[in-house]
C-alpha cells in the first residue's frame, strides 16, 4: 500500500460564513496524522469534501496525483462525526453490507466483519441490533465499518469523542497499526492535548485556514523553552511573576508552567525559585499542541 492525499486550495462558503479558506495540506502514508482545531474550525467540512459529501467553491482533492472519483472512494474508509449506522440492523449484517458496497464479495465481507469484530472485542454482539449497543460499542462497530475493506486512506472524524481511556487506547492502537501497514490515516479532534501522544504528524486549522502543520516532534521541540517548577508553600507561583523574561502559562496543583524568553537563563529562574522556598520539581518540558496552536495564532 502507500498513497498520498493532497488537499489543494479548498474553499467553501455557507452564505456569509467561510468554512474553508484556501486550505491546503497533504496526508502521507505511514503516519497517523492528527487534524486538529477548535470547534467550528472546518475539520468536518474538509473531511466531507474528501468524500464529495460537500460541494467546494474551489480547490481540489487529489489521491496519488489524480482526481478522486467513486472508484477511489471505494478504497477509502470513513467514520463521520455524527455516527451513521442503521439502528435496527444486525451488526454483522450491517458490516457485511457496507463491505459489499466497498466492492468486497459477500464471503470476504463476512470474514472481514468477523475479524474486526473479534479484534475490537465485540464479536459477541454480531447478532445484536446496533441500537441495542452502548455508545462505546457503537463507536467500535463504526470503526470496523471504516476498516472492513482494508482502505488505503482512513478518515475518522472525532473518533475518540466520548470514549473512556481504554477505548481511546484501543482505537489509538488500531490507527497506529493501520499507519504502520502503509495506510494514510487522518483523524480529527478538537481536544489538542488529548491526542498529542497518538499522532505523529499534525495539521492544525482555525477558521478554515491552516495554522500550522508538521511532525509532533518538530512542533513540540521548537519555540520558547518551557519549565515546570514546583515550590513548596507557594501554590500560586507568585515568585515567578516577578522574574523578568518569564511568563506563567498555567499553574496546576502547585506546579507552575513557565515560558522562558530566549535571553533568560534557566539558572536565574532556579535561583529565584529557591529564594521563594524549597524547590521540589524543576524540569524542561516539550511544547504542547495547544501551546503550538495559541502561539501560532499570536
Amino acid at each position: 500500500m502507500g498513497g498520498l492525499l493532497e488537499l489543494v486550495g479548498l474553499r467553501r462558503t455557507f452564505g456569509p460564513l467561510t468554512a474553508l479558506d484556501d486550505l491546503s495540506f497533504t496526508v502521507p502514508a505511514g503516519h497517523v496524522v492528527g487534524f486538529l482545531g477548535p470547534n467550528g474550525a472546518g475539520k468536518t467540512t474538509t473531511m466531507r469534501a474528501i468524500f464529495g459529501l460537500t460541494d467546494l467553491d474551489s480547490g481540489s482533492v487529489r489521491w496519488n496525483g489524480g482526481p478522486v472519483g467513486q472508484a477511489e472512494r471505494r478504497r477509502f474508509g470513513y467514520m463521520p462525526e455524527e455516527r451513521g449506522l442503521y439502528p435496527g440492523m444486525l451488526v454483522g449484517e450491517q458490516l457485511e453490507y457496507l463491505g459489499r458496497l466497498h466492492g468486497m464479495s459477500g464471503a470476504d465481507a463476512g470474514a472481514a466483519a468477523r475479524t474486526w469484530l473479534e479484534r475490537l472485542d465485540i464479536f459477541d454482539r454480531a447478532q445484536s441490533k446496533v441500537e441495542a449497543l452502548s455508545h462505546g460499542n457503537q463507536q467500535r462497530v463504526q470503526l470496523a465499518a471504516a476498516l472492513l475493506h482494508a482502505p488505503e486512506l482512513l478518515v475518522l472524524d472525532e473518533p475518540l469523542a466520548g470514549l473512556d481511556p481504554a477505548g481511546v487506547d484501543a482505537i489509538g492502537q488500531v490507527l497506529l497499526d493501520q499507519a504502520r501497514a502503509g495506510c494514510c490515516v487522518l483523524f480529527s479532534s478538537h481536544q489538542l492535548d488529548l491526542v498529542e501522544d497518538l499522532c505523529e504528524q499534525v495539521t492544525i486549522i482555525d477558521h478554515g485556514r491552516l495554522v500550522v502543520s508538521g511532525t509532533v516532534d518538530d512542533l513540540a521541540s521548537s519555540g520558547a523553552r518551557r519549565l515546570v517548577v514546583r515550590v513548596e508553600g507557594d501554590r500560586e507561583a507568585a515568585w515567578a511573576r516577578s522574574v523578568p523574561g518569564v511568563s506563567v502559562s498555567e499553574v496546576a496543583a502547585g506546579a507552575a508552567r513557565l515560558v522562558l524568553a530566549d535571553e533568560v537563563d534557566s539558572d536565574s529562574v532556579l535561583r529565584a525559585a529557591m529564594r521563594a522556598g524549597r524547590v521540589t520539581e524543576f524540569s524542561f518540558q516539550r511544547r504542547r499542541l495547544s501551546e503550538v496552536f495559541r502561539e501560532a495564532l499570536g
Binding site: 467553491d57 480547490g59 454483522g92 458496497l101
Partner: protein, 449 residues
Amino acid sequence: MKFTLVIAVGAVVLALRIFLRGRGRSGRAPSTDDARPHRRVAFGDSLGDVGLVALREIRERVRGRIFRVGTVIILLVVAAAIVIPVIHGGKAGPQEVGVVGPADPSLEQLVQQAGARVGTAVRIVPEASARAADDAVRSGAIDLAVVDGDRVVVNAPVSADSTSTVATVAQEVAVELGIEHAYRAAELSGSQVAQLARAKPVPVQSLQASTKGTARTTSVIGLILVFLMLTQYNTWILMGVMQEKASRVVEVLLATVRPIQLLGGKVLGIGLVAMGQAAVIVVFALVLAEAVGSDLLHGTAPLVLASELVWLFLGYAFYCWVYAAAGSMAERQDQVQTLALPLSLPIIVGYVLALTTASTGNADLLFKVLAYFPPTAPFAMPVLVALGDVAWWQFLASVLISIACTVAMALVAAGIYRRAVLRSGQQVRVRDLIRRPAGSRRGTAAVPR
C-alpha cells in the same frame, strides 16, 4: 362451500405460522455458528450497488413485522370481500326445491322458470308429505318446499328486502303461484294461460352505458387495495429516506455510492416488495374466488384487475420519487408529517372521486380528465375501465403520460435528494434547494457524482 372456507382459513393459518416462525428465528439467541454474518446469494453481485441497496431493502422490509402482519390483514380483507358475498347470496349450487303433491309438469316448469329469472339452477325433489317437506327444509336437506301448489315453506323468515338466493327464489315462486291461482280463478282457457305465461317484459333502454356491476365491485375492491398499498409503500420510502438521513448512515453510504444509486436501490427494493405482495394478493384472490365460485372475477372483472395492477405499478413508480424527495428534506417525525399531508392530497382526492364514481357508475368530465393526470390516474383510469368508458388508445395515452411524468419526476427528485439528504440540523425548504449560495459553484474537487 364448507370445503372452500376450510381452504381459506387454512391459508390464513399457514401465513400466520410462517410469520411466527420467522419471528422465532430472528429472536433466537446467537450461537457461535450463527454469529458469523450470513453469506448472501450472489444475486447482489451482478446488480452492482443499486442491487445491493435493493437487496438490503427487500430483506429488511420482508423481515419487518409490519409487512407480515399487514400482508395477512390484507389477505383476510380480500378473503372476506370474496367469501362474504357468496355466503350472503346463499348456496352457489342448484337450489333444492321440495314439491309435495301429485306430479305436476306445469308446477315444475313454473319453479324452474322462477329459478332462471333469479339466476340460479333449481332441482326438484319430490316430497312424500307436508310434514316430510317441513323436516327436510328444517334440516337443510332442501332449501324450500312447495306444498300442494298453494304454499311455499322456507326455514328462515323472508322479508321484502331479503337478498339471499333462497329468499328470492321463494318470493319468485310465491308470486308465480299466486298469478297461476288468479288465472284459474278467472277461468281462463289453457291457451290464454299459456299466452300469459309467455308474457315478456318490454326492453328497458338505458341512456347511459352499461354499469357492469361485477366489474364495478371488483374495481372498488381493487381501488381500496391500490390505495392501501400505495399509501403503505410511499410511507416506507418517506420514512426510509428520512431515517437514513436522521441516523446519518446516509453519510457513510454516500461516501461510497452515488446518491442516485442509493435512491434507485431503495425505490427498486421497496417496489419489488410491493409487486411481490400485490402478486400474492392477486393469486390468493383468484384461487379463492375460483374455489368458492365467486363471480367477482368473471366477465370484464379480470380486465379491471389487470388495469389495477398496471396502475398500482405506475402509481408507485410516480409517487416513490415524490416521497423520496420529501423524505430527504426532513429528519424528524414531525417534519415528515407536515410534508406527508400535502403529498397525500392528490392520492386521497383521486381515491375518493374514484370510489364515488365506481359506486354511481357515472364518470363526469372532471373524472375523465383526472384519468390522464399522473397523480390521480392510478385511481381514475381503472374505474373508467370498469365502467367501459375508455378505449384502449386512451388507456395507453394515459400510461404514456404517466411514464413521461415519472421520468421527469425521477430527475427532479434525484436532484432534490442529492442536495437535501446531507443537509442536517433543520428542515430543508424547497427554495433552499433552488437558490444556491452566492458565489457557490461546483468546484473542481467535487468530481461529478
